[in-house]
Symmetry: C2
Subunit: 369 residues, 2 copies
């Protein structure tokens, strides 16, 4: 691929200079922010994540902060999940849908106080969406982008690194739990979360001008554990069946077609956008399902698919494949796809029009590992 040109239109990460110094080789852009994808050694980056500890600049996960008298009502109206039992200090993986039940984003929602929430968003501009809804509904809230860019520390040794920096008590933080911390003058929210199945933390940095300091602090503490830079890891996330919104989903997907059924509540008192449409999907069953593909044969291309590939059964289009990797854990070629429900339920074998030629695959449930 050709180079990426950096311009003033893009949001600069608080960790930018550290990432460049660490030797980033491949970027994406996500929420108008540079997202480092690799530092030149994909195998080592996978190994660090799955056996040691990895450091990722995921400041592209922008926060949408909702604050004010109606914050609770507003956040519930925006979220297709019953939040009535959510407590301060908790995070929740949630679906945000439009009035037709289309999945707009799959953020992690953090409840900072009774009147203050963050949606930590995937790659669609929920600031726009939330402001439109709140203004038209007349909610008494302030909706802002507080410029909080997370730094992810992921892997089986992540908890050791975090304990060495922030204290042993951090080991007691539960999954999706968080604490507000000030360390060396750096204000951040320390959350046990991250886009991998290897465990770890995301450091939601509030002192944006201290990004390089925070990066260096964690990088130095991680040295004994073999920490190194990386980015959200394509191979590991496929093994774990983690959803990449916008990549694995089409613009008209509902959350049930994105593997999010267990995070959507339709039998609750809460009123939210898209509820009626989602109830219809539950009644009728989703048209497609998000599944794994166990693919025959070898596959060596280390990078993500540049676009979705058509999945067929005989002459019929039955879905699209959005990811294809060689899994080191399984020593198999695996993929992710959205496939029509009848084909999934019949567990039928499918054919894929991959960029490297036709492939055969069996449909399996997620996650792979």
């Amino acid at each position: 691929m050709a180079a990426l040109a950096e311009t003033a239109r893009l949001i600069r990460s608080p960790y930018h200079d550290a990432v460049v110094a660490a030797g980033v080789t491949d970027w994406s852009i996500y929420n108008r922010t540079l997202l480092p994808l690799s530092f030149g050694d994909l195998q080592a980056e996978y190994r660090r994540l799955t056996e040691g500890v990895a450091l990722w600049d995921v400041s592209c996960q922008r926060q949408v902060q909702i604050e004010g008298r109606d914050a609770e009502v507003c956040v519930q109206y925006l979220t297709a999940r019953d939040l009535s039992k959510m407590r301060v200090g908790q995070g929740r993986y949630v679906a945000m849908c439009d009035h037709d039940g289309r999945l707009l984003n799959d953020p992690v929602l953090l409840k900072l106080s009774d009147g203050r929430f963050w949606f930590s968003i995937a790659d669609s501009d929920m600031l726009l969406w939330c402001r439109a809804i709140a203004a038209e509904r007349g909610f008494d809230v302030q909706i802002t982008d507080p410029n909080v860019g997370p730094l992810a520390v992921q892997g089986p040794k992540a908890a050791d690194v975090i304990a060495d920096v922030f204290g042993e008590s951090t080991r007691d933080i539960k999954f999706f739990g968080f604490e507000e911390v000030v360390h060396d003058g750096i204000k951040l929210v320390l959350c046990r979360s991250g886009w991998s199945h290897q465990g770890g933390f995301e450091l939601f940095l509030e002192s944006a001008h201290r990004g390089v300091d925070l990066w260096n602090l964690v990088a130095e503490a991680g040295e004994p554990y073999g920490i190194g830079p990386g980015g959200p890891n394509h191979v590991e996330r496929v093994e774990a069946g983690l959803l990449a919104w916008g990549g694995d989903t089409t613009p008209d997907s509902n959350p049930f077609e994105a593997g999010m059924a267990r995070y959507v509540d339709v039998d609750c008192e809460a009123e939210y956008i898209g509820k009626a449409a989602l109830m219809r999907v539950v009644e009728e069953g989703p048209a497609r399902q998000f599944v794994g593909l166990m693919v025959e044969g070898e596959y060596t291309e280390p990078w993500p698919l540049p676009q979705r590939a058509v999945v067929r059964r005989g002459s019929e289009d039955v879905g699209t494949m959005s990811a294809l990797v060689r899994s080191p854990k399984l020593d198999r070629t695996i993929g992710l796809a959205q496939i029509t429900t009848p084909v999934v339920e019949a567990s039928e074998r499918v054919e894929i029009e991959s960029p490297s030629g036709p492939l055969c695959a069996d449909i399996v449930a997620l996650p792979f590992v």
Copy 2:
């Protein structure tokens, strides 16, 4: 800069294969779509645009189509400009604002019929915004992304190329006027528009699968005129003072702070989002203005600034500079900035903290040429 990794999350341009074959060297991402910025020779690309004819893949200008019984009412409510006299076959440069008068986007609006419009958008997801507003207001409209990616033919010889392909009558199309065309089975909207001051057309391709054919058709017809590939040209657009939304504007800018005063109507019967806030700005005067900077000294960096630079007067921050180029037309170093109104009105000299060190500049009105 490091490489850009292409992934399934990004929208693929209908011209993608032609752009790669033409030797693209530098990308940006705009509306989640790959935007080719250069093919390796910025000087030749500027020369073709200003003296000949240039071909740009600007399919990242996604369309938001608003169609249905309430289309006219809905489009007006979304637009800070009086559209009561707009006719079918016309385009208009418009401001879309939020309820606080912040500029969300500066699209060209095309009226395809009384019940069907396209917003041809800058880099913010107005599909989300428009759907939120329409659903909450109960407008009877369908709002979609029709997958129409424009191809821009820009430069003093663009009209010759377009006349050779689509007929001499295309010379009579007025600025922002358009015609629906089917040529060689390729359906498109031919509009006299484009993000340069050199004149030209944008071909809004409706037959998305024919992108490479359309590119090749225009490229071949343009050969006698020296056509060549390029991208929205940073140097020419600075000379012309053309706004780059998100680059030249901050997230809280109103249209009066973005040089869009003449496109905003507050003394009209039309009701639209942000009107009350914009009336207050008119009464009180905008806090900042979008201006040119005539900068002292040489400047040789050919690429856009990677981020905005602070503008000072003495020890006081008075704005931000978003672009800095060497203008071939003026043989001067020039810039674009948002500066506080009192400083602009006093025409005071300012200092800039540029990446290459401190600079001095005089404030001038736009455009430069």
